[in-house]
Amino acid sequence: MSFMQKPKVSHSQRLHNELGLSLRDYEGSMSTLCAGCGHDSITAAIIQAFWELNIEPHKVAKMSGIGCSSKTPAYFLSQAHGINAVHGRMPSIATGANAADRNLYYIGVSGDGDSLSIGLGQFIHALRRNLNMLYIIENNGVYGLTKGQFSASADVGSKAKKGEVNLQPPIDPAIAALTLGGSFVARSFSGDKAQLVPLIKAGIMHNGFAMLDVLSPCVTFNDHEDSTKSYAHTRQFYHPAVHADFIPSKQPIRAAYDNGDAMPVELHDGSTVVLRKVSKDYNPTDRAQAYSYLHAHQKRGEIVTGLLYIDEAQREMHELSNTVGQALRDLPYSELCPGSAALEELQSQYC
C-alpha cells in the first residue's frame, strides 16, 4: 500500500440534490488506499447513492470491521457517525446500534476476509436476524491489509501473486445469503458504477438485511493473470444471459446500464474480467431458482451480478421482536423505570 497524498474522490460540485447538498457534502476524508484499488470506486458509488437518495448525511450510521475495505467508511459521509470495530465483528456492532435506534440508515462495509473468514459467524447471524442495514462486502479474494493471503472467497485453482494455488472451495456470500434466508442478495462490480449505484440505493432502502457482494480487485495483490478474478479465466467460462436487474418500484432508482449482455471490464493491469447481468426470465423473488441459477453458473466459473433475490415482506429484527417505533435510546426514563411503588409491590413475592 502507498500512503502518498492523493486528491479526494472528486465529483462535480455544482450539482445539488433536493436537500440542497452537493456531492462534496457526502464525501469523507482522503483515501489512503492504493491508487486504483477497487474499494475507492465503491466509496464513490456510495457517495453518489446517498446523494441521489437525498438522505441527510447525519442520519446515517456507517460501520466496518478491519481491513483495507473496512477503512473506507472514513472516506465517505464525514457528517455521519462512524465506527470502525474489530476484525470481523462489525455485524454485532450494527445489531446493537440498530437495536438502540431503528430510525437511522445503517451501512456496513466489510471485506471478504472480514466477513467470510474471521467474521463468518457474525455475518450470517446478522443476515439471519434480518437486521435492517446495507451490508457491503468489498470482495477481492485476498486479505489486502495483511498483504495478499488467500481469503475464504478465493476460487479453487486461483494463484496467489507469489505462486501458491488455492485448493479449498470458496465461500460465495451470495449463495450463502440465499441458502441462509437472506432477504436481499445482490452482486456487483466496483468498475460498474452504473449497476452499483442503483444496487446500493436499493440496499439502503430495503427493509431488512441487504447483502451486496461487490467484486473489488486488489490491484496490489490479486490482479494478475492466474487469479480467477481475472478476465481471462472468467471469459473462458462465460455464458451470456438476459436482463434481470430488479429494483422495487417504490424506490427512486433508474436502471443505469444496458440489459442483457455480459460486460467485459478491464482491470488495472490491463487484464479483463467478465461480469454478467442475469437473464430476462430470471425471477428474483424465487429463492430456489436464484440459488440453482447461481450454482449452475458458478460451477462454470461465471460471475452472476445484479439484484439476485429480494423478499421485501420478510420481517426485520425489530418487527420480529415487536419493539416500539421510537428509538429505544430516546424513550424518557419515566417510561422505563417502574418506580418505588412497583418495587414495594413486587417484593411481597419474595417474602
Partner: protein
C-alpha cells in the same frame, strides 16, 4: 473423620450434642438426585422457616447435568442471622442411595439422619454417634399417587412434612405457602398437602417430636426478602433504564437475563400497542453479545450483557476496544470455577485480575463487587451510571453463590428522585451553538471527554476507532499524539476512584489486625469476626466494593499491621491487586484462600487466622 471426633468427645466427657436443645441454630442438608423436582420442596421448607421470622439461608449444590447426578441443598437456620455456611450438618435428609455413604459421614456428631425406610439401608454403614430416623416415604406416597412423576415429586414433599413434625414447623405457614404457590390449582394443593400430612403424621407417631433441634418463632425476618442475586441484578437493569440486553446462555448467569426479560414483560410492554420498550438479543456467542452492547451504547442506549468467565474470555478483544474507543458497557460476570470450563455449577472469585486488566495493551477497568442480592440490585443501577459517566466498560463481579442462591436481605427501597447520570453528552442545541466538536478533548481535566450520539446533529459526527487516534479523534501513528490519549485514559481511571462505591468498614480504634475481603465472602467474614472476638481476638474488617481502590482502602491498609486477605481463588488475586495498585507492603498481607468451589465458611477464616497468629506469637 466423624468417628474420631466422636471418640474424642466421649473421652473428654462432653455430652453428645444431641442431648442439648438447640433452637433456631442448625443446618439441614438434603441429598437428592438431580431432576427429581426437589427444588420446590426445599424452597417450601426454607420459605416456611423464613415466614416463621427466623433467619435462614439456602445453598444449592447442583451438578452440571440435567438429570441423574447427585445434588444437595443446604439450609442454615441461624438466629444470629449468619448467612455463610457453618461447616456443620445437623440433619441430613439422605434421599440419594448413590451418595449415602458420603452423606452419612457428613453428619456432625450428635446429629440426625433421615432416610427413606421403604428400602433397607446398607448394613455396613452405621454410626453410633448420630440418630438415624427411617420414614417409609416411597411406600406412603406410592399408595396415594398413581402417576410416576407425581410419586417422585411427592416423595420430596413428604420429607418436608416429616421435618415439619420433627422441627416444629408451623403447619399453617406451610398450607398458606402452598396456596400462594399453586393459586387456584386445587388439585395440586390437595396433593401436596396430602404428602405433607403423610410425612408429618408418620413422624408424629413414630418419633419423639420435636427433636432437641427445633424452630421457634422469631421476628427477625420482617422487612426482609429471600431472593437470588441474578434476579435482583436483572431487576436493577430495568430500574437503571437499560433498554438493550445481549447475551449467550451460560451457567451461572443465565437466570439474570431470564429475570430481565420477565421484568420487562411486566413493566416495559406498552399497554395499548403491546410493543416492547426494550430489545433483548440472544447472540450467537459472547463475542457478538458484547459487540451488540457496544453498538447500542455507542448509539446512546443503556446496554448490558450477563455472562461468566468463559464468556469474558471470548469478549476480550472488544473489551479493549471499548476501553480505548471509550464506549460505555455493563458486564455482569457471574463467576464460576475455572480455568477453562472448570466446574460450571460451583462458585469462585477467580476472574478478578483477568477482568481488572482484560484485553491486550495497557487497559484497566472498573469493577464492582456486590456481596449479596441487595447489592446486585444497587450495583446494577450504579454500574450504568459509572459506565456512562466514565465512558468505559464496568464489570459487576457477582458469583454463582450470590447469583443463584436465595439470600435473606433487607427489602429494597427505591429513591423516586433518582435520575440516571448519562455522563457528558452534548445535546443538539449545544452542538449547533459551538464552533467545532472534538471527541477526545479533556475540557474538565478529569480525563473524561464529551461525546455525542449518532443522528443528532451533523456537527456532532466523529469516527470511533480502536486504531491509534489523537485527541481530535483522527487516526494517528504519532508517538506523542498517541501517548496524549493513553495518559488521559489513565487519569480517567483515577477519576473513577471518586465515583465508585466506598468500602464497608468495621473498625475498632487501636486494633492492628484486620481482614480485607470482598463479595460473597462477607457472611463468613462477619461470622468469623464474632467467633474471634469471643475468643478474645479483635480483628478489624474492610470489604472492598470496587476497583480502582480509593483513599479509604489505602488508609485502612496503612493503619493495620497484619492484614488477612480473604478470597475465593487459588492465586490470591485480590491480594495481588492490592499489591499492584496500592502502596501496601507485601509483608503485611497474609492470604486466606478457599477455592474448592463450595461457598466459603467462617471456620476456614477463623482457623486460618488463629493458626497464623499462633505462629506469629511463637516466632
Amino acid at each position: 473423620m466423624p468417628e474420631t471426633r466422636t471418640r474424642n468427645l466421649r473421652r473428654s466427657g462432653v455430652q453428645p450434642e444431641s442431648m442439648q436443645t438447640r433452637i433456631n441454630d442448625f443446618v439441614i442438608k438434603i441429598a437428592n438426585v438431580n431432576g427429581t423436582g426437589s427444588a420446590s420442596a426445599n424452597g417450601l421448607l426454607m420459605k416456611a422457616i423464613f415466614r416463621m421470622g427466623i433467619p435462614v439461608v439456602g445453598k444449592n449444590f447442583f451438578p452440571s447435568n440435567i438429570q441423574g447426578l447427585p445434588t444437595w441443598f443446604e439450609i442454615r437456620v441461624s438466629r444470629e442471622g449468619y448467612m455463610a455456611r457453618s461447616g456443620r450438618v445437623d440433619i441430613m435428609v439422605a434421599m440419594n442411595a448413590q451418595t449415602y455413604a458420603q452423606d452419612l459421614a457428613d453428619v456432625s456428631p450428635g446429629g440426625y439422619l433421615l432416610y427413606d425406610s421403604t428400602w433397607p439401608r446398607d448394613k455396613q454403614l452405621v454410626r453410633d454417634d448420630i440418630t438415624v430416623i427411617g420414614i417409609p416415604l416411597s411406600q406412603m406416597v406410592n399408595t396415594h399417587f398413581e402417576n410416576v412423576r407425581a410419586r417422585i415429586l411427592m416423595k420430596n414433599v413428604c420429607y418436608v412434612g416429616a421435618l415439619a413434625a420433627l422441627l416444629d414447623i408451623d403447619m399453617q405457614v406451610i398450607t398458606q405457602l402452598l396456596k400462594e404457590t399453586f393459586g387456584n390449582k386445587e388439585k395440586l394443593i390437595a396433593g401436596n398437602l396430602k404428602s405433607i400430612e403423610l410425612g408429618y403424621n408418620y413422624a408424629k407417631e413414630h418419633c419423639k417430636c420435636p427433636l432437641p433441634l427445633k424452630l421457634e418463632r422469631m421476628q427477625a425476618t420482617a422487612d426482609h426478602i429471600m431472593v437470588d442475586g441474578n434476579t435482583m441484578a436483572g431487576l436493577g437493569c430495568v430500574y437503571a433504564g437499560a433498554t438493550v440486553g445481549a447475551w449467550y446462555p451460560i451457567t451461572p448467569s443465565t437466570s439474570l437475563m431470564d429475570a430481565f426479560k420477565d421484568f420487562c414483560e411486566r413493566y416495559r410492554v406498552d399497554k395499548q400497542s403491546g410493543k416492547h420498550r426494550y430489545c433483548i438479543v440472544q447472540a450467537e456467542d459472547e463475542l457478538s453479545a458484547i459487540g451488540m452492547v457496544l453498538g447500542a451504547a455507542w448509539n446512546g442506549a443503556r446496554a448490558f450483557t450477563p455472562t461468566s468467565g468463559p464468556g469474558i474470555s471470548l469478549m476480550n478483544e472488544f473489551i479493549g476496544f471499548a476501553y480505548y474507543a471509550e464506549i460505555p458497557a455493563v458486564l455482569f460476570d457471574v463467576q464460576r470455577v475455572g480455568p477453562s470450563t472448570g466446574m460450571p455449577t460451583r462458585t469462585q472469585q477467580s476472574d478478578l485480575l483477568f477482568c481488572a486488566y482484560a484485553s491486550h495493551g495497557d487497559t484497566r477497568h472498573v469493577l464492582l463487587f456486590p456481596a449479596d442480592p441487595g447489592e446486585c440490585f444497587q450495583f446494577a443501577v450504579q454500574a450504568f451510571d459509572l459506565a456512562e459517566q466514565l465512558q468505559t466498560p464496568v464489570f459487576v463481579m457477582s458469583d454463582l453463590d450470590i447469583g443463584m442462591n436465595d439470600w435473606m436481605v433487607p427489602k429494597l427501597k427505591w429513591d423516586q428522585n433518582y435520575i440516571p447520570d448519562r455522563g457528558k453528552v452534548y445535546s443538539r442545541e449545544q452542538l449547533e451553538s459551538m464552533q467545532v466538536f472534538r471527541r477526545y478533548i479533556d475540557n474538565d481535566s478529569d480525563g473524561i471527554c464529551y461525546r455525542t450520539y449518532p443522528g443528532v446533529s451533523a456537527k456532532g459526527s466523529y469516527f470511533t476507532r480502536g486504531s491509534g487516534h489523537n485527541r481530535f479523534g483522527g487516526y494517528t501513528e504519532d508517538a506523542a499524539e498517541y501517548q496524549d490519549v493513553l495518559d488521559r485514559l489513565r487519569r480517567k481511571h483515577d477519576t473513577a476512584k471518586q465515583l465508585v462505591p466506598a468500602p464497608v468498614l468495621r473498625i475498632k480504634k487501636g486494633v492492628k489486625t484486620a481482614i480485607v475481603s470482598l463479595g460473597s465472602c462477607d457472611g463468613a467474614v462477619l461470622e468469623a469476626l464474632d467467633v474471634l472476638a469471643r475468643e478474645g481476638t479483635e480483628v478489624n474488617y474492610l470489604r472492598v466494593r470496587a476497583f480502582p481502590f480509593n483513599r479509604q482502602v489505602e488508609e485502612f491498609l496503612d493503619g493495620h499491621e497484619h492484614i488477612f486477605v480473604v478470597e475465593q481463588n487459588r492465586d490470591a488475586q485480590l491480594k495481588s491487586l492490592l499489591l499492584l495498585e496500592t502502596r501496601v507492603e507485601k509483608r503485611k498481607l497474609t492470604s486466606i484462600l478457599h477455592y474448592g468451589g463450595m461457598p466459603i465458611d467462617s471456620r476456614c477464616i477463623t482457623e486460618g487466622i488463629s493458626k497464623a497468629l499462633a505462629k506469629g506469637a511463637a516466632a
